[in-house]
């Protein structure tokens, strides 16, 4: 019974992990069709910001929930203004440029922090579930992810800003005719996506520990989650994260975590072949 509880909690945590790491990408890729291969590095920098701030004596919650998104959002702003905005509509070039960007960011972080692992202890201690020791911080991550998801959904669905953003992605000409500057909308959306990635990195930092190369670990999972999700950003990402998270953890328990990752990637290939437009390209088309 306790063991079942452990498995369920681990599955929930995996789903939350996938949602959290792909939320920023869901905004940037899912809505703007910009393939940001530097996404993992955005997450990684969010983590580094948190750890560096904590080491400088700043409260950890302030560091992860406020500073990390601010710093990465600012980096996103610079990146959008200097690189991405010249490449809208040139998908392959965007992929190449952002891949270059990811290398550049890894190089910079290595230059500043050195090529050694850094970490901070999790601020919430573990608890006992029957005979199993569980991480309390995992519960915090699940809760924060739920909160982020609800806020994203509410903003996109019910606010004027969300409406304009969704409109600009579907028809920039129409939005421009109505008096909004699509360039500005793109810029703000990109920055929002980057900030979300930073937030994810900040929240995950105490759990994982960081290397400059850590970003690479997020990118593949985040991508397949968003792409499999399809056109409806939030519903799709939620569905695919739930699906992949469950598969990943079940295989991990049955075999080992590496096999869990591999099972997830192989399934993603099959999914892409069967539904090139993602889950929400075929089902739940009217959702957000």
């Amino acid at each position: 019974m306790d063991y079942a509880g452990v498995i369920i909690l681990e599955i929930l945590y995996m789903i939350a992990f996938l949602l959290l790491t792909s939320a920023g990408l869901a905004i940037i890729f899912g809505m703007m069709r910009v393939i940001n291969l530097a996404h993992g590095q955005f997450v990684m920098i969010g983590g580094y910001t948190t750890i560096a701030s904590v080491k400088a004596g700043i409260n950890i919650y302030f560091a992860m929930l406020v500073l990390a998104p601010l710093v990465v959002g600012f980096i996103g702003l610079i990146v959008e203004r200097t690189i991405i905005r010249f490449l809208y509509g040139r998908i392959i070039d965007t992929m190449l440029a952002t891949w270059g960007l990811s290398l550049l960011l890894v190089g910079m972080v290595t230059f500043i922090f050195g090529n050694t692992a850094v970490s901070v202890p999790a601020p919430i201690s573990g608890y006992q579930l029957g005979e199993f020791q569980m991480g309390g911080y995992n519960l915090f991550i699940i809760l924060v992810t739920v909160a982020i998801g609800v806020v994203m959904w509410a903003v996109l669905r019910y606010t004027r800003a969300g409406l304009i953003a969704r409109g600009a992605m579907q028809g920039p000409d129409v939005v421009a005719t109505l008096g909004y500057n699509p360039n500005k909308v793109y810029m703000i959306t990109f920055v929002a996506g980057a900030a979300l990635s930073g937030l994810a990195g900040g929240i995950l930092a105490p759990l994982t520990g960081l290397l400059p190369s850590s970003g690479g670990a997020y990118i593949a999972k985040a991508f397949i989650t968003v792409i499999t999700g399809g056109t409806a950003v939030i519903t799709g990402t939620l569905l695919s994260a739930s699906f992949f998270g469950t598969i990943n953890q079940i295989v991990s328990f049955a075999a080992n975590p590496v096999m869990g990752d591999i099972a997830m990637l192989v399934l993603a290939l099959i999914f892409l072949r069967m539904m090139p437009k993602g889950i929400t390209g075929r089902f739940f088309r009217d959702s957000t």
């Binding site: 393939i35 690189i83 010249f86 490449l87 998908i91 392959i92 070039d93 992929m95 190449l96 440029a97 891949w99 270059g100 960007l101 990811s102 290398l103 550049l104 960011l105 890894v106 190089g107 910079m108 290595t110 230059f111 690479g216 593949a220 991508f223 397949i224 792409i227 080992n256 590496v258 096999m259 990752d261 591999i262 990637l265 192989v266 993603a268 290939l269 892409l272 072949r273 090139p276």
Partner: protein
Amino acid sequence: MMNWPSVDRINWGWFLLAVGIFALLPLVFDTHTATLLIIWALFALSLGIMWGFAGLLSFGHAAYFGLGAYTYAVAVINIGESTLPFLLSLLVPAIVAAIIGGMAFYGRISDVYLGVITLVVTLILFKFMSATAGDIYKIGSARLGGFNGMPGFHTLNVPGYPDISLWGWPTYYISASSLLLSYLVCRWILARTFGRVLIGIRENEERCELLGYNVAAYKTGIFSVSAAMAGLAGCLFANWAEIVTPSVFSLGQAVEVLIWVIVGGLGTLIGPILGAMALGYVKLLLGEQTVIDNSLILGALLIAVVLGLPNGVVPAIRRIWNAARLKLRRRVSEGSTRRTLNASSQVNR
């Protein structure tokens, strides 16, 4: 409309010059370095023909490079004599690419998703090979060895004579002739209908399809050929390094070859070769210093090329060269016209 260089003529003068340069290269560099540069050039060429001429971008071409290396190592440990393993290291990547490419192209997967699929395949291989430590992971008598890789296999030998193994400068000349042969094969492909249809697909896929060409078959075909070439590079790499580790599948390997090709030049064959050798050499030099991180420079370079020279260095140089030659020719022909006119007016007088 871009002015693509003609593809069906080989300038044999330049080719012989290249043969001469490759023959003498070990005098300039040490053989070990020169061999590695040649292998990288071959790897870049394999991606260059697929990306530059058929317009198909494989983000994870390292998968086929690595498969070639692993296939050779596994086969040579089991077989002992190196001729069959050498051939297998071309065949296995080609078959895997045909399966993956066929799956993608017949399913009408777009460019972007092709990039993602190829990348995911590389990641799967990297993860799997890194996790194969222990005795249960072995193929025949070859242990895959997990993260530490597979050391201690026989290098290439003279076909039929397992005892006479080749190492050192023979490996260099095998690699160099593989590169030159592959170049000729690429030229041959491009001069035939197959290559012309590929270029047609790059320019306008829909039109090719409406003209009755089986686009998916052509794409799968070139993907397979390209993978075989990458596998050949991988096999030579295994011989050069004398060990195969999962790092052949790493993201770093995958991105480096992309950078070589795009910096060297898309839509040319010489571009990827020069790009790989020049940037590869720079990388080796940078590896010796520790002030600036290597990836920082590579990343900045990739961004700069995508923003500034989206077709790479060689096409840019060629464009300038052609423009200058055209100008020169115009000036010369103007001069001769004037002279003719003068001559004719003199006759009239």
